[in-house]
């Protein structure tokens, strides 16, 4: 069992946000695994997905029941091999797991920011990560790797700080969310803001909008799965009964699962962070700043590994292909795999074996070339 200790870095001068405002101070929660080599050339930044956190691998205490969220992928002898690489993971700006977000105390008022927290973008999250990397004394990252919203951050790193990364690993992600993706985010936000306890974001001294947040999470979970995986996992089974009772106490297994996931989520996630982070994902479109995707990558990092999953309908493979062709046209070294998996968008967290082999090989050759 590998024990890790979370760290905090505070940047008193903050960052200039995409919205034009300066936001300060910013505290960043991060964890590191492995050892930075003498030349500082073996660092890999892991960027987490929407509901992830800085705890990517290992355990905090010997009593912990579960390890970090990507423990299968990070550790000695694993694809992100901590015997070779120095792996960093930080919680995103706007999050609620240690890094400054809407639930943090505004030093100017002594109260939580709530909706006075500025609207942020994926690029703003990456600016904060860049500050952290500078603070850790790393000039150039071997790779920035992440899935879903993490993939967006990896892409943002590639086009915003090409000189600071040797490669980007982009899993189950996109250069811009589809209208369908934005629609689901909007319904999730509506579920939260319709809960009377949300109270325009001011709920930190009372009861939180747990019901609204749980419904948002239930909806989110549907989008992370697939018809096939839900059919296989739940089918049309009832949770408690063997036969239909024709009353509303009948609960299908899938309903029970969603309730459970929704309930579990509200214990660890802040409703306002849900709003801010989904909005950041909706805004994300790297082609916008540079005119075209090809132009974005033309001035971006040199090496990419892009992986999509056959059953992912939230971040569909065609979007990954579009990115890869733009990378190719821009003359970049880009590899692409579309893995066959029934697990929908969640595949990038579950299909660790196939993608692990690719990532391991990709990192190795990147390390050899760097």
């Amino acid at each position: 069992m590998i024990l890790v200790t979370p760290n905090d870095a505070v940047f008193d001068d903050g960052i200039e946000l995409d919205s034009g405002k300066r936001f300060a101070p910013i505290s960043v929660r991060y964890e590191t695994y492995g050892t930075l080599d003498w030349s500082g050339s073996n660092a890999v930044l892991i960027v987490h997905a929407f509901s992830g956190d800085a705890h990517a691998a290992g355990y905090h205490t010997v009593e912990d029941r579960y390890p970090g969220w990507w423990n299968e992928m990070i550790g000695p002898g694993k694809p992100f091999d901590t015997n070779r690489y120095f792996v960093i993971c930080s919680n995103v700006l706007g999050g609620c797991q240690g890094t400054t977000g809407p639930g943090s105390i505004d030093p100017a008022t002594g109260a939580p920011y709530a909706l006075t927290f500025p609207v942020i973008t994926i690029n703003d999250m990456v600016k904060v990560q860049k500050r952290l990397i500078d603070y850790l004394g790393i000039n150039r990252l071997l790779a920035v790797a992440g899935g879903s919203m993490g993939g967006m951050q990896a892409l943002e790193w590639a086009v915003s700080y090409p000189e600071s990364i040797a490669s980007a690993i982009v899993l189950a992600s996109t250069s811009r969310l589809t209208a369908q993706g934005i629609a689901f985010d909007a319904v999730g936000r509506n579920a939260i803001t319709s809960d009377p306890r949300w109270n325009h974001g001011n709920y930190y001294d009372g009861e939180s909008p747990a019901r609204g947040l749980a419904i948002a999470r239930m909806l989110g979970h549907i989008t992370y799965l697939s018809d096939e995986s839900m059919g296989e996992k739940f089918g049309r089974k009832l949770q408690e009964r063997a036969a239909y009772g024709f009353d509303f106490a009948d609960q299908f297994a899938v309903e029970s699962y969603l309730e459970y996931q929704g309930g579990k989520f509200v214990d660890r996630f802040d409703a306002n962070s849900y709003i801010y982070l989904t909005k950041a994902m909706d805004y994300f479109d790297i082609s916008e700043r540079f005119g075209t995707l090809e132009a974005a990558f033309a001035q971006g990092a040199d090496r990419y590994l892009v992986i999509s999953f056959s059953s992912d309908w939230l971040y569909p493979p065609y979007q990954s292909k579009e990115m890869v062709f733009a990378m190719m046209k821009a003359g970049k070294d880009a590899s692409y795999a579309e893995l066959t998996s029934p697990f929908g968008h969640d595949s990038f967290l579950l299909e660790t074996e196939q993608q692990g082999r690719m990532i391991e090989s990709f990192l190795e050759t990147t390390y050899a070339k760097a």
Binding site: V324, M328, Y336, L339, T340, M358, T365
Partner: protein
């Protein structure tokens, strides 16, 4: 796509055809062996396409840029004349729409290198003639019902198709396994045929010198 297990076209023959420093798109690149040789011996900028996950992993492990895709989807996302060479090595006979793929290849590649097993090889002809059975031998080791080779052709068939499609043949290599076969014998005695075709966006004829041994 799987390389035909029984056939190993002499990769060095292809390496010889390629100008140093050029750009190469290898369709059905398999484990990336050909691209690996081209990158190391001819300093090409190479990229592979293959359908199989296991092949993608091997290419990535070799540091080769590779795209997991199906050649039957065509090359629509590749710009016209965007590669100096498009290579289709031992794969033509496995695709569903070879004519469409050839059209796409001559659009994308300034030159196209394509090789395939010659179904007109004398041993095949004799098996069909004397035993009345589809040829199964060391060069074509599959039974008709489980073969990946769904579009076999003879050397003559391919030459006729190129004429019909208006694709100029720039160069030809006929091999019996790894040995060159003289032109007069190639229809009958070549197991493998390799053509260099002129793409729609070919360089000026003066530049298409081929450095074959």
């Amino acid at each position: 796509m799987p390389r035909h297990e029984g056939m190993h076209f002499n990769y060095d023959e292809i390496v010889r055809l390629v100008r140093p420093g050029s750009s190469v798109l290898d369709l059905g690149c398999g484990d990336g062996e050909l691209l690996h040789r081209l990158i190391h011996r001819k300093q090409v900028r190479g990229r592979g396409v293959d359908r199989e996950e296991a092949m993608i992993v091997q290419c990535i492990a070799r540091g080769i840029s590779v795209y997991q895709g199906d050649l039957d989807e065509g090359l629509k996302d590749y710009g016209s004349g965007s590669y100096d060479y498009v290579i289709l090595n031992q794969t033509l006979q496995m695709v569903h729409r070879p004519v469409m793929l050839l059209q796409e290849m001559v659009r994308v590649g300034r030159e196209v290198i394509v090789n395939f097993p010659n179904f007109g090889y004398v041993v095949n002809r004799m098996q069909l003639m004397f035993f009345g059975r589809m040829p199964v031998n060391r060069d074509i080791p599959y039974q008709w019902y489980d073969t990946p080779n769904i579009h076999f052709c003879t050397r003559k068939d391919f030459v006729a198709l190129c004429a019909e499609m208006g694709i100029p043949i720039l160069h030809e290599i006929a091999l019996r396994r790894t040995h060159r076969v003289p032109p007069v014998l190639r229809n009958l005695f070549a197991t493998e045929i390799c053509f260099v075709l002129r793409g729609n966006h070919a360089p000026e004829p003066a530049q298409t010198s081929v450095s074959s041994s």
